[in-house]
Symmetry: C2
Subunit: 336 residues, 2 copies
């Protein structure tokens, strides 16, 4: 990245270009580790050893627009995003923060609605907002509310996104692309017969059920850049290849139809209530069964497995193979 360059939208879209920006700028922070897993890992969060446990710490800025969308709002999203990042590290969510930047003129009633959504999502997982910060900007300086939610969780053993071994099975905890596709359809004012909606949910209870069974080797949530990006990151960091079966990928029929009309690959858009999980082969069926018993895991499936090698390979319905490339960035802006 040369010195005259400027930040562009694609740098925030969760794909390869974002990795490039992070690599050339934020990876330059030298004070990047407090013991355990730090910034250098670029995982879903950090893990700091404390006694015989780990404190997991994570942060997310939520800039979604519009603030209210089918299936949720920025309040539910902010809790879900941070709870899920903690869960991906194997940590029980304990305490979250609420840092809001509000544009002047924002209706107080909308703020109250958002706060109710925050509370409902917290109650689902037994976590709490324990501290906050409120800033207000002139309306010409900011067009829509931003919420940063950071949080801490506790775990005995952090799960990494880099822990896949050859032979591990790959589970997706539910249907793919619901959040990104429903959001763009809503924004564009499209109607597709059925009501598309976001999968936005705090999925700690689903992850907890999987962890209790055991055999989990790696986890990551497919937000910006979608499943395509997450599979590539996990494969690359774990030094394995991932093979997925196209006919096993769970995509809702209405999401598929909308995605086709929009010309967007559901694999490349954000999900906000899903996880990609690596499991030891011998444990995969019992883990899957445990996940399916939970509220947000009913549609979970095994979509493939890790093998020696590199890259993410899709075995197509007609018997061919093609690489699933990491997207340059999510095709849908301001999705989370």
């Amino acid at each position: 990245m040369t010195s005259a360059e400027k930040v562009s939208l694609i740098h925030g879209a969760g794909g390869e270009m974002m990795q490039s920006l992070i690599g050339s700028v934020f990876a330059g922070i030298r004070n990047n580790n407090a013991g355990g897993i730090g910034l250098e890992a670029l995982d879903d969060g950090a893990a700091i050893p404390f006694g015989d446990k780990y404190i997991v710490l994570t942060t997310d800025n939520h800039v979604i627009k519009p603030v209210f969308f089918p299936g949720g709002d920025i309040g539910r999203l902010s809790i879900s995003g941070t709870v899920n990042d903690l869960a991906m590290m194997g940590a029980k969510p304990i305490a979250l923060t609420n840092g809001v930047v509000i544009p002047e003129g924002f209706p107080i009633d909308d703020l109250k609605t958002i706060v109710r959504s925050v509370d409902e999502a917290l109650a689902e997982v037994g976590a709490a907002i324990v501290t906050g910060d409120t800033k207000v900007l002139p309306k010409e300086a900011l067009d829509s509310i931003i919420i940063n939610t950071s949080g801490i969780g506790i775990t005995d053993r952090p799960i990494r996104d880099s822990g896949l071994n050859p032979g591990n099975k790959i589970i997706v905890t539910g249907t793919i692309g619901d959040h990104g596709i429903s959001l763009i359809a809503h924004r564009e004012g499209f109607k597709f017969g059925s009501e598309l909606k976001s999968d936005c949910a705090p999925i700690w209870k689903t992850i907890e059920a999987a962890l209790k069974v055991g055999g989990i080797t790696a986890m990551k949530d497919p937000t910006r850049g979608g499943v395509a990006n997450v599979l590539n990151e996990m494969a690359k960091k774990s030094h394995v290849s991932i093979h997925v079966q196209e006919d096993l990928l769970p995509v809702r029929r209405d999401v598929r139809a909308a995605a086709d009309m929009l010309g967007i690959d559901p694999l490349e858009v954000a999900n906000e209530g899903k996880a990609v999980i690596g499991v030891e082969a011998g444990m995969a069926d019992v883990v899957l069964a445990a996940i399916r018993k939970t509220k947000y895991g009913k549609d979970a499936v095994i979509i493939g497995e890790a093998r020696e090698g590199s890259g993410v390979i899709m075995h197509t319905k007609i018997g061919g193979q093609r690489f699933i490339e990491p997207p340059l960035g999510d095709p849908v802006p301001r999705v989370c």
Copy 2:
């Protein structure tokens, strides 16, 4: 606050109006405590019991404009703000987060400069940025970079802003009003002979020195709303009155001159490298001596004391008394 109301700039200015917004909206969050000190305390951070220690958690959105200012930049500010909030709870800063929202077109070189400032401030206190999040917004959606810095620290015993007892001495760790006055002077393009500059600094080492001596009963950092706001909050929460001597208030001559020309009270503007500390009377002199030995505590003074009663009373140079009222909000917007 009625239902048709909208958020206005004064709601983010750190004074009474902000307390009103927080009280009517965010105080409505019911899942607000993870044990220990939670959102309901509206302190500088939360404290969560963990083994025989407390994890302190805090968050701050930094929306300062311009991003580079005399004495610092948004990178140094973001670390200082969060380190100081942890320090005010008596906690050693351990691990911080870096959540940035960048407007499209922001120069990469400026980002790198900000990251260097972040690193330098971290090194001063031995803390680390362990995780982050990067979002990019269209330039018509956001006018200037926002950085959220959350963080955790560890303490054996959290210090409260509500712990003052009658008889406690009140220490200010240095000169008052430097950040707010220098920022507005810089923004307005004023020249005042000497170079006014922000006091922006991470003051953990100063606070650590005070804590090691002992006798500290309460702490709070006078950011938005300034010393006037902090003294009122501490007095109200502690159920005491605070009496300060006007002739003991440390205000730099050039800050005073600029403040007079601008018609702004230095007591009502943000400081970014200062603390207001309550100390048991018998310990005040030794605590003060310890603070003065530190880099950011050289100008520390005792400005008054807590007594029975309520309110904040200034004893003027000419022998009168007047209330120091809590400001409606900081007179200077986007100071932190």
